[in-house]
């Protein structure tokens, strides 16, 4: 009996060891180093505020393996949307980890948000929801993508800058009454300072969209503070509470002090 137990115990130990060893080599498993990195970033971004892991308040949908590391589509859903004040998107192992901070205004429907980012190496991606009562909730996924930060913005810098600041907006019917969906596209190279000009062998100086405000009539839909991890020609999909006859206005600015403003007519009777 004792012998049997000992054997079982030994087998359990071996299993535990193999299990531990397997998870240590599987990058999709949490490991101490990745958690330490996240804690360090969270300390800088949120000081000592508590961040509570959640399965319900915010979810991330991202490809497990990205086709293009410079254009990784990320969808955030916030099912209990009435509680949400803002969301943070953090790409842990990018050198500038905070990709975007989006604050929702009174004309927003904060149920969902979609954007495209650059990812430098296999990394955890965290989304943090800030609720209206000031609490923080986080979730994370592991994304396999590599080289997104150094990928060039276009065939040449001049080409990439053509039409800089041009915007387009597409509208679609929302899933709920009065809620409509909009997709904003801004033409901008979003040079991040880490891309090498293949002809001159010099780094292209950074120039990226750092602020976007979207309004519907005189109400704010959302404010976005962006960073170098947003992809070239930023695309953002969001939902808003439609008031017929009111235009959508977008004001965008970049780190070189340029400012662009454009208004769009929202097709009526979309819902």
């Amino acid at each position: 009996m004792t012998r049997t137990l000992r054997t079982v115990f030994a087998a359990a130990l071996v299993t535990a060891f193999c299990g531990g060893s397997a998870s240590a080599t599987d990058p999709s498993q949490p490991d101490a180093g990745r958690e330490k990195r996240w804690q360090e970033i969270a300390g800088y971004l949120f000081d000592d505020r508590d961040i509570v892991p959640t399965d319900t308040l915010i979810k991330i949908d991202a490809p497990k393996r990205a086709e293009d590391a410079a254009l990784v589509p990320i969808t955030l859903t916030m099912p209990e949307k009435d509680k949400i004040k803002s969301v943070y998107l953090v790409i842990d192992d990018n050198p500038a980890p905070l990709a975007a901070h989006v604050t929702f205004g009174p004309a927003a429907d904060p149920g969902a948000l979609q954007l495209r980012v650059r990812i430098d190496t296999y990394t955890n991606v965290h989304a943090v929801a800030e609720t209206k009562d000031g609490k923080l909730f986080s979730t994370a996924v592991f994304v396999k993508a590599s080289g997104g930060c150094s990928a060039p913005s276009g065939p040449s810098d001049v080409e990439a800058m053509k039409g800089m600041g041009d915007m387009r907006m597409k509208f679609a019917k929302g899933v709920e009454k009065k809620s409509s969906e909009a997709t904003l596209m801004i033409r901008h190279p979003n040079f991040n300072g880490m891309q090498m000009n293949q002809l001159t062998r010099l780094y292209t100086p950074p120039r990226y969209i750092d602020k976007v405000t979207v309004s519907h009539g005189d109400q704010t839909v959302l404010d976005i503070v962006g960073d170098i991890s947003l992809s070239t020609n930023p695309v953002l999909s969001f939902n808003f509470m439609q008031t017929d006859g009111q235009p959508m206005t977008v004001v965008a600015s970049d780190t070189k002090g340029s400012r662009w403003e454009q208004s769009f007519q929202v097709p009526s009777a979309m819902h």
Partner: protein, 151 residues
């Protein structure tokens, strides 16, 4: 420098991931010469800049150690440090790597071959290939190498 790299390195063995996995049990010296992320000029002070470098577990990181043009002093520092790490054993297996299409690891391998190392392996797949199947760990620049770099 990035660009298409050759398929061979005279005096060294070019290895793929399976080759590296087979070599690991012989405890090779893993020499990572990947570049450190350079902070973009005029990066706003109120934004978080917090680069990290993930590599093959056990690797020694020489940021910029594979530059095509290393001045004599830095080249000597690189070779001295490698010599220290292999404790003078020039036949010990050494693997040089960075990322795909990075000439740095080819350059570093070449330097070691020229210096008389006989166990040099070049792993052109680098960190990208490794992380497809294995975890990576965050590494800091090698202290002795870092101290030899101009501040």
């Amino acid at each position: 420098m990035r660009g298409e790299t050759p398929t061979t390195l005279k005096g060294a063995v070019v290895i793929d991931l399976a080759g590296l996995e087979a070599l690991i049990s012989k405890q090779p010296l893993l020499v990572d010469v990947g570049l450190a992320d350079k902070k973009p000029e005029n990066f706003p002070q109120d934004r978080l800049w917090l680069p990290t470098h993930r590599s093959i577990p056990g690797a020694v990181w020489f940021p910029g150690g594979g530059a095509a043009a290393l001045d004599a002093e830095k080249e000597a520092a690189f070779l001295r440090r490698v010599d220290e790490l292999v404790q003078g054993d020039r036949s010990r297996p050494i693997v040089t790597f960075c990322r795909p299409n990075c000439w740095g690891s080819w350059n570093a391998g070449k330097r070691l071959v020229m210096k008389g190392y006989t166990g040099v392996h070049w792993f052109p797949g680098g960190i990208d290939k490794w992380q497809e199947f294995h975890d990576t760990v965050a590494v800091e620049p090698d202290k002795a190498w870092d101290a030899s770099m101009p501040k």
